[in-house]
Symmetry: C2
Amino acid sequence: MSGSCEDDVVELIREALGARFGAGSPDAFALRDDAAVLGPPAVPAGAPLVASVDSVVEGVHVDLSVCTPGDAGWKALMGALSDLAAVGVSPLGALVALCVPGGAGEGTLALAVTGGVAEAAAAGGCPVVGGDVSEASQLVVAVTVFGTVRDDGPGPVPRSRAQAGDVVLLSGPCGASAAGLRELRAGAPGADGAGAHRRPVARLREGELARRAGVHAMIDVSDGLALDLHRLADASGVGFELDDVPVAPGATPEEALGGGEDYELVLAAGPGIVDALCIDFEAAGLRRPQRIGVISADPSRRVLRGKPLGRAGWQHRIG
Amino acid sequence: MSGSCEDDVVELIREALGARFGAGSPDAFALRDDAAVLGPPAVPAGAPLVASVDSVVEGVHVDLSVCTPGDAGWKALMGALSDLAAVGVSPLGALVALCVPGGAGEGTLALAVTGGVAEAAAAGGCPVVGGDVSEASQLVVAVTVFGTVRDDGPGPVPRSRAQAGDVVLLSGPCGASAAGLRELRAGAPGADGAGAHRRPVARLREGELARRAGVHAMIDVSDGLALDLHRLADASGVGFELDDVPVAPGATPEEALGGGEDYELVLAAGPGIVDALCIDFEAAGLRRPQRIGVISADPSRRVLRGKPLGRAGWQHRIG
């Protein structure tokens, strides 16, 4: 790739993605134009448009000594899709802003990252409709996804409407990604954890079912179960009392509470819908959600088995 | 801002943007949730959804010795809006992925960049509906915008449908941004050029009018008039014969051809609509487009005043 210029790299990426997604775009556009065009009708009449962006930065969100460039691409797209899952909507498309270090072999790096983006896009049913490639000193993959509601059920689920007395449910055990990173760095990866760390999966179907079932509030575990639960409680003006935290195989309880990037969903659901919700999940072939506690009316009450639960979790240090 | 964490920075940014845009979002979301919700109905029934992404990288797209962090934010959002202008659609909203170097004062940097993003968003009528903040070794601002067609006119205009015999029009003279950068670096900025470099403006109204008038193809001058015109010709399978290149005050002919970031629009229009198009522009208080040449059926013919025109322009070096 030495000596190639941006147009050449963009064309190679377009070809790599077009093999999967080209058929979905109006042919006059199809990843060649500056702007991508979806539909009409991309968004059903009267339906909301929902969008989110997530970034993966080399050395901050991804350790390239234990993950591949393709993993970085996968994580960026799945992280953004997990935000759509967290409000219960279906993906429509993704745009990728890719920054790669200049120098020999870096066109190859751009393609490798894009390969992981394309695999995640196929897994999540979310075509890549546009992108941008820049030179930078460090690998950065920023993915914007947009989606909508395709049914007559409730609208997108915010994190801010949990109510006192709601049951707190978790779509699956936490800590697998953090455990996988620990194992990878120790040079002894277990298959479960390594996969969970390198190729986490957004819970899109779970989020959609939970929205249709009428849950009050939802959030995805992206920065750690404890921290994300605090965020849901902050936004809703409530507290919580947890009696259990399911721990993924191979993970520690600390990893389950603070590890992040598990993409499991935390649901706050009225007690009256919990049984039906669990039946819906099982009927769809999904894991039965686990009841981990209840929402408290007291915003200052944030406990696990009666003891205060700190804001454990992973935040980028800024400033 | 020393010692602050991501949630604090995000909250400050939310407040800074919310003062302008909070009223437009459903209150349960309003920049607090992972995903942003627009509408319903964000997109008119049957209308296409159009999206684009543009990145500004410190030292690559913006020189922070002559531009402010706010300029970097402005340029990222305007660059993305210019892509919407180039297909003739109206903006609906923007999402901002911001990467800032860690360390003392960098929370302040994040806010300064966001200030410029907000100013560009207000100027372009494009609310910022979501975002993401990360730590990185270098300032990166990646902005995704989406838009739609709000009228019954033609759909988005591709770059790929220029036809032999079309008149090539330019919405205004080129080179002002490149001239401004040269003047800024020499320590003697002229007001016109410095403003054009630091705060370029997307030609959204021009693009919309051109679409409604029925132009065949359009592209914005983001990387240089010559290069972008070659791209339009490549995509359309045609050539061009230019007889004139309007040069902005203070710019050289080379800057007009190769400077980029002017955001003027290149239009390929059937001869029969040119007069009406010019009247439409003038009636709307816009500069009258200038005729600079014609489209040739021969894809290998790419000339300026009879001499071959190279692909002058600015490309990121990748690989």
